[in-house]
Subunit: 671 residues, 2 copies
């Protein structure tokens, strides 16, 4: 690459792009860690994007109608931090850049959502950003259909690397975007031919251009260092009715001794080489120094969208008050006022009627009354709509000719679904929930973890939540998946025992602002155990006394979901033998943990023996089996000790020893 | 579809294929659950494959040189069970078919590896089979290069559905197979255009033919009900130097009222419709009845490979005794005799020298001495070779022109790597291990679970196993991943504290026959704590006393991996204050759980306070914090309570309160 030619061909552009490269080199050198090569390779593309195309206003970073810029190749975080600093985002000070990757700084190793304005999503785990972007673009289509182009009319831009495209999730994202003709989605592929181990060719020879076209994308191919070509491609991409991938041929670590090598991917900290690169750039400035003319040129870019933002704000102010309030409400993740009443009403009705239904059906019953008053919900399933019971009667299917559709057929793409749902939440204005079998938590895990880390309230509807699914067998029977989600910080795992608890769980999930929820729901029918109506949301306490001991309290049974019925039957057996037995339903461990100690001790007092019942592994349960002064030899567990088996569900519960008789016998053995 | 034409065009073929369809209909009807449509749609393809192409001998199902048949669309399990029964596999009796999906039967809802001969891998979670198949085909190439065509010379056939191809993992598999020109891999795509929710078009419009070609595959397109076309395509596929995908246009639930509909995907149990389908087939037989001529035609197919098998056995008998023994040994998953001595030698050397190294480097040091004496190991990494330290000096890179290469650059494909490694183990003759960052356990999870479920000893090398990785931040810092793997049945999670324990862990992982291993290894340097050489493998006990209390034992510190160093330093602090403190290293909880109670009590006696130290979440630790009669108020935990952060590692340990001082203070607060 002839740097001199690049410098002289477009000197103004070159200076702006070089400011990114220089800040990157300096920040990585100061941190003595990080990834220099990608920002240096993609600086030209990003500069043209921000200068001529991206609709944004650095002074109004939360403007709902801004274009979204997603750095899927999150290791190149200094590209994003440089852009935010240079364009004048208030929180991205030079001090923050200097503290790249240090404790307390907002400039983490990979971009962390919530740390700084302008970070639209947390990236780093590869492929997540490009899959998030499908959700961003779908949300834009849905909201544009709902509120009109005057309020919603923007693009989603993504920078993705070879790593993103090699991850399987990228195929799920590409397939979805192509299927739904998401023309507002534009992916800029950093085609530098280098990965950590060496050249891409070591592991992949896929023709990415043909691959994207096979899924219905427009593909453009350009020199990623030619600002004119970049500008032309972006202009063309914006006209397309199909999603566009722009293959940008770039040189990783452009201008550095490590250019075009895998060494260039990582931290380029050698002082002499750094100085040499800056010399080649014609950048005679000290560390972190950006000359005033370059900084002011960048700041002008940061203000470019100000008038457009102001015009948009006027348009919002001009719409009717209820519409304005609705728009604002959904972007603030506020639940509608009507939600609480709807939940209370269905709880009352169910407590009175006492139906026996699977909690996946309970969930559908709740969605039927909630979705009509909560127009921001978007349902969906990874090709298990009828099994997950995720579509309520009022929801039409999202499609190219029905952008108002609120139900998404995600296809057999659990991972892509989860990541795209995250993108919808991050975009704002949408509250998505999506279903699959609980066992396939495994497929969706990387995106579920990121929802928890990003503190966003995505809802994962996981049905068929135990051996209770029966004949499909151990490949489909979760035994460790409750533990997996419970072990994850900032995740609410709801395992309701009946329709009333299911309604309460949904209320919590749909009013959550910062915590994702896992709804663990049964395939098999369950009785209504909450027959006495209480307006209070008992699930909000995480655990509560469902039935207390009659006579002296000798035992406490702890259970969740389908096993609460078993615990109640065991209580009958034990009480018949004169053993006073309390049953504690524990639909959400995390919320119980959040209660004060006094409440927890009231629910789980020391003294009685404790037996937990859950058709899953014991892992994690010991937390609840002993009181503060309780003894291990007074705690027991009835549940799974290995993977399940293929047989009708009643047979499985019997063969695996998860019955009321087994629970009663365990209590007696401990007394 | 005109059934009459199909019947009359190839009556002999038709009868054989119809036997599959009829058995499927009958078994699903008897179970009142299952998936009828796929076996009915793919019966013609499978019949031609088994009749004319698949090299197998039903009487010798473990013949190492058989072709492998993988049903990636595992829900169509009755296709496989029918084929095994009809061709005369001894264990697949008619009784088993009649007990489809029942307790104790080998005919589970989805094919379970180990239940019956001829089930090459467990499938059902979609996309796994096609990704396994890449490992099968790579294993074949490697072993053919090593032992020659006289002993190894076979194909891998896969039946995959739309679901498999929509899962992201399929792209990882397709990319790998194309990159490595796995010409012995032949995928038969059941192109029926139907998924559970409806037509494929609901969720995907990807042109699969173009997609496979973009990754370097040969693609053939045929009518999947035309035996001549099927035969021709298979013949052509076998000649190819590239992997071949045969797009078989089929009708799901052929001949049934539910043909070509999503209803046809599931259980077709309606009696009248079943009878009508059999009538259309010209199949006037009762449930589970296969006429003698059809059965004997199928049994002849089952014996077709007998002479070839016998010739192969003669060729094996003719090779040199050591070579024969080696071939047999590796297929029996027996470790070489030299392994144990090599492990002991490095343990002794390390105990004497006492180096300070990261356990990922320890792991490399072990591999350097083990790999040369264990030629069946195959290393690799998902594009983190230099970070995972997975390549030993003797390993060359597997490539098109170096099939003897024992190191695989898997690319940025953690999921595909894990599934392909499973395929290698299942093929036999290979003991693969592969690396990524521990946090990306999430990406590999579905395949890691299947290794546990299938009882195969795949080794997952997970480095950068805590906040100790430092600046990359919370997206890369596992906190819940130890819990995730520990909660999974039949999984050994090794978190060694130094090079000696790392060597012991590798010995266990490489001699395991039925349990996969997770090697949780540090990025940061750790001192050698085992300075006294012991030939015995202490890690095999799961936990042991690393340093005992001096004076009265008042406290026990439990720790794993990098935190054992912290526990030892805390012990020094406590002993200086006269508090007798034992340190228990717990490199493998599962193996400790397997010890007898007496041993566990010797290591963890009741009485002293217990404090666990691990730079991960507490979830699961309560199991070890209280003795049988121990009390909760005498147990404490020092570790993570939320996600990590981006900063240098020493800062993180200090800020998150995971230091010797914190541990000592916790002990004192409990005394």
């Amino acid at each position: 690459m002839d740097i001199a030619t690049l410098r002289s061909a477009n000197p103004d552009h070159w200076k702006k792009a070089t400011a990114i490269r220089a800040l990157t080199l300096d920040a990585v050198a100061a941190a003595n860690s990080g990834h220099s090569g990608m920002p240096m390779g993609m600086a030209d593309v990003a500069t043209v994007l921000f200068e001529n195309h991206l609709k944004f206003d650095a002074a109004n970073p939360d403007w709902p109608d801004r274009d979204r810029f997603i750095l899927s190749a999150g290791h190149g975080s200094m590209l994003l931090y440089s852009l935010l600093h240079l364009t004048g985002y208030a929180d991205m000070t030079l001090e923050q850049i200097k503290n790249f990757r240090q404790w307390g700084a907002i400039t983490a190793g990979h971009p962390e959502y919530g740390h700084a304005k302008g970070i639209e999503t947390t990236t780093g785990p590869l492929g997540q950003g490009i899959a998030n972007s499908v959700g961003f673009a779908m949300a834009e289509e849905m909201l544009r259909a709902r509120f009109g182009r005057k309020l919603v009319d923007h693009y989603t831009y993504v920078i993705a690397g070879d790593g993103c495209l090699m991850e399987g999730i990228s195929q799920e994202a590409i397939g979805l975007a192509g299927r739904h003709a998401l023309g507002r989605l534009i992916v800029l592929w950093d085609n530098n031919n280098i990965t950590i181990d060496g050249k891409v060719d070591l592991a992949d020879r896929t023709d990415q251009v043909k691959r994207f076209r096979a899924s219905g994308w427009q593909v453009l191919e350009i020199d990623g260092h030619d600002p004119v070509a970049i500008d032309g491609a972006l202009t063309e991409a914006k006209k397309s009715k199909r999603p566009t991938m722009i293959a940008c041929k770039t040189h990783i670590a452009l201008g550095h001794a490590a250019q075009d090598t895998s060494k260039g991917h990582g931290a380029l900290t050698n002082h002499e080489q750094l100085i040499a690169a800056k010399e080649a750039y014609g950048w005679p400035y000290g560390p972190f120094e950006v000359p005033a003319d370059v900084k002011s040129a960048w700041e002008a870019i940061g203000k470019r969208g100000a008038s457009e933002q102001a015009a948009w704000a006027e348009r919002l102010a001009a719409v009717s008050a209820p519409r304005q309030a609705e728009f604002t409400r959904i972007f603030e993740r506020e639940a509608p006022a009507k939600l609480s009443a709807r939940i209370k009403a269905i709880k009352k009705q169910i407590s009175e009627e006492g139906p026996k239904v699977a909690t996946r059906q309970s969930s559908e019953m709740v969605l039927e009354v909630v979705n009509p008053v909560m127009q921001e919900t978007v349902g969906g399933s990874a090709d298990l709509s009828g099994s997950n019971n995720t579509r309520s009667g009022d929801m039409t299917v999202f499609d190219v000719d029905n952008r108002k559709g609120r139900y998404v057929h995600w296809g057999i793409r659990e991972h892509g679904m989860a990541a795209a749902m995250n993108g919808m939440v991050l975009h704002g204005g949408i509250r998505p929930y999506g279903g699959t079998f609980m066992c396939f938590t495994d497929y969706a895990r990387p995106a579920m973890r990121l929802a928890a880390l990003m503190k966003i309230p995505t809802v994962f509807v996981m049905t068929h939540d135990s051996i209770g699914l029966g004949e499909d067998g151990p490949t489909h029977q979760p035994v460790e998946h409750l533990a997996i989600s419970r072990a994850t910080p900032n995740t609410w795992v709801f395992r309701p025992c009946d329709t009333v608890e299911t309604a309460e769980a949904w209320e919590l999930a749909l009013t959550s602002k910062q915590t994702p929820s896992v709804m663990s729901l049964t395939r098999q029918g369950l009785p209504t155990l909450r027959r006495e109506h209480k307006t209070k949301n008992l699930t909000a306490q995480g655990a509560y006394v469902l039935a207390d001991a009659i006579g002296k309290r000798q035992a406490i049974l702890l259970a969740t979901g389908s096993e609460v019925e078993i615990a109640m039957a065991a209580r009958d057996l034990l009480q018949a033998d004169g053993i006073g037995t309390r049953v504690v339903s524990m639909p959400c461990w995390e919320l119980f943990e959040d209660q004060d100690e006094a409440y927890r001790k009231r629910v789980l007092p020391g003294g009685p023996v404790r037996v937990a019942v859950e058709a899953a592994v014991r892992f994690g349960w010991d937390r609840w089996l002993y009181g503060e002064r309780g003894r291990r030899d007074k705690g027991g567990f009835i549940g799974m000790h290995d993977f399940g088996a293929s047989a009708p569900a009643p047979t499985l519960f019997k063969e695996f020893g998860i019955t009321a008789e087994d629970v009663a016998a365990k209590v007696k053995s401990l007394l």
